[in-house]
Amino acid sequence: MEIPKNGFMKRTNAQYWTCQIAGWGAYSFAAGLPTGVLDHGWRPSVVIGYILFFLYSIGLTHLLRREAKRRHWTALPLPQALARLVAASIAIAAVQSALVVGIYAAIEGQLGVWSRPSSIVFMFIGLSVIGTIWTILYLTITSQRHSYEVRRNEKRMKAALGEAELRVLEAQVNPHFLFNCLNSIRGMISEDPAQAQDMITRLANILRYSLQRDRPHTVPLASEVEAVSDYLALESIRFEDRLRVHLSVEEVACQRAVPPMLLQMLVENAIKHGIEELPTGGDLFIRACLDGDVLRVEVENDGSLSEPRPDTTQVGLTNARERRRILYGEQATLELAPRGQGRVAATILIPSLA
């Protein structure tokens, strides 16, 4: 997941520079410089030496940080990350030592105290320790920040997932259908109470089926057909003779596994984009059969394939395709094509999973 590089990154960088300047500043000007001045007085080699030391130490460790980031050292297991960083800090200590000696010699014109190798070794060891402390601080801070980021991403991911699930639900329970249906039921209550009761039962079945939590990845085609039948019974009350359903499902096909809501979605599409658009209504054919070992499910309706209406999201069809792909790979197909005689057909082919 892409993390937007906004205020958080800016804050991180500000924190890093504050630590760098405060750390190396304290070491150079609060510890190093006073000691040097006490030992040697206000000599240019001491003052300039420490100012330069402050600058190149920040520069060198910054270089280390950049390389560590580029090579993703902080993502390594701790011992490996530590080994690489400590080795790099020791290398930096060597460079620092060389620079200290070089700058002193350049300003003073002689090696002075650095002519004794032991003092150079002593300084090198001291700087290695400082470098190692820098490394440990750096690792601690980054790992804390990393775990914070991981937690934040998890939260964000969860939110995104929730939203996706909601969109799926919206696609599955078409609000237009739901409210029209409730309206019909209310009208029906006084006209035909028995049928109104039946409609409520069917609507409850559909809602239960489509709102199911922890739904299995596949259901027998028979359950899907049952849900679709309830749905069509309700739509028939709305559309009356404008909706003419022809259902033929082979007995052998009934136990085959299909993704839940797949047939439902195709039938809903056929009504929403086909039959509902036709003033005189139309025929809807639902067929399921076995073609050798392949399950063939077809939803055919009167209507035409036109440009998607601007107010539709096509989320149903996209969703159906996506789930089909996840479950069956590229072997299964979902095709929407004109059929002649002013009809459109959606065909799904699903090979046996076994």
Partner: protein, 137 residues
């Protein structure tokens, strides 16, 4: 006041008729099952108010209004509120979601009457919209 109910679903028309029975001041002049039917009936009967469904096969409620030179007061009735903004853009008098709550219907009718009464003296009240559907008096 003469009203026309326009909805492609019989149950929906019947339900609205049942609700309107509580308002004898509204006389249901006719019902139309489609935009085309409604257009003819509006020319014939010159209703004062339309109860208009948005989504209908052939011609939507919005398309019907675009085809009328002389537009009565419009109360939209629809199952889902995604069109509310558009409805108010064209200055519908009110917008009811199905199933219609009796209290909401009553409020819509009251609004219709207040506008209807005013129009006797203030013609501007009937200017439906952006000037496109201005009622000539």
């Amino acid at each position: 006041m003469k009203a026309l109910i326009i909805d492609d679903e019989r149950m929906a028309r019947q339900e609205l008729r049942r609700l309107l029975a509580a308002h004898p001041e509204i006389e249901i002049a006719a019902e139309a099952r489609s935009g085309e039917e409604a257009r003819e009936l509006i020319l014939q009967l010159a209703p004062d108010v339309l109860f208009l469904d948005v989504q209908m096969p052939g011609m939507s409620g919005f398309e019907l209004l675009q085809q009328l030179d002389d537009v009565p007061q419009v109360i939209f009735t629809t199952a889902y509120d995604q069109y509310a903004l558009k409805a108010f853009e064209i200055s519908a008098l009110d917008y009811l979601v199905k199933p219609v709550a009796p209290a909401r219907l009553e409020a819509a009718i009251a609004k219709t009457f207040s506008c209807w009464n005013r129009k006797e003296t203030i013609p501007a009240c009937t200017s439906q919209t952006n000037g496109r559907w201005f009622r000539a008096h």
